[in-house]
């Protein structure tokens, strides 16, 4: 009880210190808590709505119909009283009297959906030659209810407008708005031709007690074709939220940086506080209190701080929740309501406790070594710690932080890179800071006293200055890193160097349409880029070993495992050509040769695709192309510039092996005059209703907007980190001003004016912030270039605007903070104990 009482007294008697520590802790935690609340809410929402989102209990989806055998397997596995229906999805062009547009066609049966709402205005009956449109299509096609649109060779009346469509594609973002029609009509439209890009979704409804996860697991083991995806509603919902989950992962890492900075700040403030109380603790020991109990006082002091901070942190986390909600709505049509549960509340407290204890553990351990005998001779009472103990504790903390990073990012690779990068940044700042600040000591013989005294002080008072440098530097690093990546990506998406983006991208071109298509375009005064063939296949084996579907039942899988699972459980698009495209470059192996040795066909793989499947030059691949076997040997790996928006493929055969296989074509068309684009599109839709046409520019804009949105979210969090850096700077400046009061009094006694003392403080702050920001900007820019090069395979662009703004802002805030603190301290009457 005594310890608790003393601990509480410390909080009450030191309100300023307690408030500063509380403020630092709350600020560092709020972004973490807000994000945790958001993640929990998204997870809950997805799980609660998963059946509605899929509109079924489970789905078997693929680019082909189920075979009879597969249908029998499913039938035998289903429990009694189950039902199923087929929904077909594909992209196609529709045309009104005035305009044409790419749409996502969704052909549904009469009893659709099993779950969820699909509310239609004006009519809810798809019998007959009718369709329902999403509202934006009315504007885009300039049609209204009762008008007709052309889909394939069908003329359909617009009978209804979709009012509420919770039954969305569980694949998330789509390229185009939706049109609904009956399953019968999609076959009548003759849009479905050999090789058309469409998805057959066999949706199933089972009795309520059915273990869906077990059922889908069984079916996945029985139906091995990776081209067929069998997903329960919860798995489908997870896929739906996949993009969001990735953004949340990166946001999570940024919040970890905020926590790290919080730890740095709290460590400094607590150490300064504790060492100012070391005399009292030595006195307590001399009076009979054990060292453990003395440590216990300050342990409970920290616990009390967490208790006080707990509720405000959680409430503030709730306050930033709406911003996350808005972010989600811009990416997905998913309204995520706030979920207040005990889990997020407990997380806030637990993370707060771990953060504060981890930050202060070394200081608490040091306190155990306080030597009360020094009270007799008034020597320095601040105890030291052994280097081994320090190293051990730091290592343990590092491991904990690494674990947290892996959990937050759901990726061992990303989590490890993050911790390594952060550690490297801290080390670089520390070493650089140490060397530079130490070197200032050599500049002591300057004419100006302000300069010489400041530089000397900076070089001798290393600990607080290095901490300021590190916290400001890391904040600057983050605030430069993200925008620089954004600028590079945007540039690469919108206008990649040396690349002219096409205006239109076409797919589902049939073999026998090529010549006619070229002719039609030629008649309009343009030239079609050479079309690329596409052959659908599935990978049967690699080097003779069967390539199986990935099934697992892990509760926690990393992002890499999830990506690999998705990658393996899919069909492949193959192409063939004799030469590299302008967007490709061989990175290993040799180009196709013309030799007809009679062996397996030559294959070229995209290098990242090869890495994911663990393939290399020399590997043998066997594909099944609609029942026919085709083999090939990898002769080279190549890099591809995907942002050119021209047809490119992961797997390219040499000419000859696939020529006779069923295929469709992709093509691009560029150099259109802006005023001709719409008419060219309309004309092509009229003549070739089965060919889908994507407006590249509007797609690029949408992608860019999405990228921008995600980066905005990450930037927002980075800004919170910067605010945290400033709070730490404020705490350090205040602490230093308080600690150096004696020094300033002496200087004033010796004849230095108040203005000069303030000038020394301000100059010191300006020097440190300039150094910190410059190094942070340099490292952030360098890191962004490396990330663009190795993660996104683009050449990064450097902008000077953001760094310049950041430099000016950081220095202004630092100088202002220091100035006001100095004025506050030095406006007091000079008191000196004579």
């Amino acid at each position: 009880m005594l310890i608790l009482r003393l601990a509480w007294k410390e909080i009450v008697n030191q309100p300023r210190t307690s408030l500063v520590m509380l403020g630092t802790l709350i600020l560092g935690l709020v972004s973490f808590v807000g994000l945790d609340l958001f993640r929990g809410a998204v997870e809950t929402t997805l799980q609660n709505h998963s059946q509605k989102m899929l509109s079924a209990d489970f789905v078997i989806a693929g680019r082909r119909e189920l075979t009879r055998e597969e249908q029998a397997i499913v039938r035998d596995s289903l429990p009694a009283k189950s039902s199923s229906h087929l929904v077909i999805e594909m992209y196609s062009m529709i045309k009104s009297s005035q305009r044409s547009r790419l749409v996502q066609v969704k052909a549904i049966p009469a009893d659709f959906p099993y779950y969820g709402e699909l509310d239609i205005l004006h009519s809810d009956d798809l019998d007959g030659d009718v369709c329902w449109l999403h509202p934006e299509l009315l504007e885009q096609l300039q049609v209204k209810v009762g008008d007709f649109i052309k889909l394939g060779n069908l003329n359909l009346e617009v009978a209804g407008v979709v009012k509420n469509d919770f039954v969305n594609s569980w694949r998330g973002m789509t390229l185009a708005p939706k049109i609904y029609l009956s399953t019968k009509n999609i076959f009548l439209s003759e849009l479905i031709q050999k090789g058309s890009t469409l998805t057959y979704n066999h949706l199933y409804k089972t009795p309520p007690q059915t273990d869906i996860e077990l059922l889908t697991e069984v079916l996945n083991k029985k139906i091995q074709d990776p081209a067929l995806r069998i997903l329960s509603h919860t798995q489908a919902a997870n896929e739906y939220g996949q993009g969001l989950a990735m953004v949340a992962d990166y946001l999570g890492l940024v919040t970890l940086v905020a926590l790290f900075l919080t730890g740095v700040g709290i460590n400094f403030i607590f150490s300064a506080f504790l060492w100012s109380k070391v005399r009292e603790t030595a006195i307590l020991v001399s009076l009979g209190l054990t060292r453990l109990k003395v440590v216990g006082i300050y342990f409970f002091y920290l616990c009390f701080l967490v208790l006080i901070a707990w509720v405000p942190t959680w409430l503030l986390g709730l306050l930033i929740f709406p911003y996350f909600q808005k972010l989600v709505l811009k990416i997905l049509p998913l309204n995520v309501p706030m979920v207040l549960d005990h889990k997020s509340f407990l997380t806030a407290g637990l993370v707060g406790l771990v953060t504060i204890l981890a930050s202060c553990v070394l200081t608490l351990l040091r306190l155990q070594n306080v030597n009360a005998s020094r009270l007799f001779d008034d020597r320095d009472l601040i105890p030291q710690s052994g280097k081994k103990l320090i190293a051990g504790v730091l290592l343990a903390l590092g491991l904990v932080f690494w674990g947290l990073s892996v959990v937050m990012s759901h990726s061992i690779k990303v989590g490890s890179i993050f911790v390594a990068s952060l550690s490297a940044s801290v080390v670089v700042f520390w070493i650089f800071g140490y060397l530079v600040l130490k070197s200032f000591g050599r500049l002591k013989n300057m004419r100006s006293f302000t300069l010489s005294y400041t530089l000397r002080s900076i070089s001798r008072l290393l600990r607080p200055n290095l901490l300021s440098l590190i916290s400001l530097g890391i904040g600057s690093f983050l605030l430069v890193l993200v925008p620089q990546i954004r600028i590079s990506l945007e540039k690469d998406i919108i206008q990649p160097d040396g690349v002219v983006l096409p205006d239109l991208f076409m797919f589902d071109i049939q073999d026998d349409q090529i010549e006619k298509l070229k002719e039609s375009i030629s008649k309009m005064g343009y030239q079609l880029d050479e079309p690329s063939p596409m052959v659908r296949a599935k990978l049967e084996s690699v080097n003779g070993k069967s390539f199986e579907k990935w099934t697992d039942d892990q509760t926690f899988s990393t992002r890499e495992e999830e990506a690999e699972k998705r990658f393996r459980n899919r069909g492949f698009n193959l192409s063939f050509r004799s030469h590299l495209s302008a967007d490709e470059k061989i990175v290993s192996g040799k180009d196709f040769t013309n030799s007809k040795s009679g062996g397996p066909a030559q294959i070229s793989l995209e290098v990242r695709f090869a890495e994911r499947l663990n393939l290399g030059v020399g590997d043998l691949l066997d594909f099944d192309v609609q029942g026919e076997s085709v083999s090939g040997k990898i002769v080279n790996l190549r890099s591809v510039r995907w942002s050119s928006f021209r047809p490119n493929f992961f797997v390219v055969f040499e000419p000859g092996a696939l020529d006779a296989m069923p295929k469709t074509y992709l093509a691009s068309l560029g150099s259109l005059r802006p005023e001709d684009k719409a008419s060219v599109q309309n004309r092509l839709t009229e003549v070739f209703p089965n060919i889908s046409i994507v407006d590249v520019q509007s797609t690029v804009t949408r992608v860019r907007d999405l990228v921008g949105l995600m980066i905005w979210a990450i930037n927002f969090m980075a800004l919170l980190c910067m605010v945290q850096s400033f709070v730490i700077l404020l705490a350090i400046s205040y602490q230093e001003a308080w600690r150096r009061q004696g020094e300033w009094r002496i200087l004033k006694l010796l004849g230095i004016s108040k203005a000069k003392v303030i000038a020394i403080n301000v100059f010191q702050s300006a020097t440190l912030s300039l150094l910190a920001t410059t190094v942070g900007i340099f490292l952030g820019t360098l890191a962004s270039q490396l990330i663009c090069r190795f993660a996104f395979n683009t050449v990064g662009k450097v902008s000077l605007f953001t760094p310049a703004v950041l430099l000016v802002s950081v220095m202004s805030v630092s100088i202002s903070v220091t100035y006001f603190i100095s004025v506050r301290f030095h406006s007091r009457r000079l008191e000196i104990s004579l």
């Binding site: 006293f449 005294y453 001798r460 004696g742 020094e743 006694l749 010796l750 004849g751 000196i832």
Partner: protein, 219 residues
Amino acid sequence: MILKIEGVSKNYVQGERLIEVLRGVDLLIDKPEILSIVGPSGSGKTTLLSLISGLDRPDQGGIWVLDTPLNSLSEDKLTQFRGRNLGIVFQQFHLIPHLTAEENISLPLEILGESEKSDRVSQALQSVGLTERKDHFPHQLSGGECQRVAIARAMVMEPRFILADEPSGNLDFKTSSLVMRVLFELVRAKGITMLLVTHNDELSKLCDRRLSMHEGRLC
């Protein structure tokens, strides 16, 4: 004239009480001498030193130091005047912890932009016998050495007037004797006036004049 104090009074407010610390103090030092002020704790000695050094201002009366009326100087001018003309030695030494002995001593010169007079620093170090310790920091020096550095710092500007507040108060007997001997020798050698506040009777007997302070009055 070194020091003239006329009718100086100083009060402090403590809660709701008004405490008269100095009551009509008069003092004149018109030639170089060593003057001691003794008195019990709370008699006003330290307050008097604060007023003379310009760290505080009297409520009534006037103070002239080296023919300069302190009351008429602004805060900045007072600071400059103090730095240039007065040396102060404290009981607690009050050295800058992150500066070496030599740097602490040269600080007054640097502040007033006279750092080229480095020979004065060397002489000051030598006069207190600390040339070999010039690169040591205060935490590496003993109490007596720290006080000697403080004395050298007070002397480096070659002031005409030194104020010393219990300079041996924090030192053991042997060190105290050494330090005070150094201080007295330097002061007498350079013809500096020193006002010494002390409890030490033996020390006060070494001074040219001895005054006592009692309940805010100087006798």
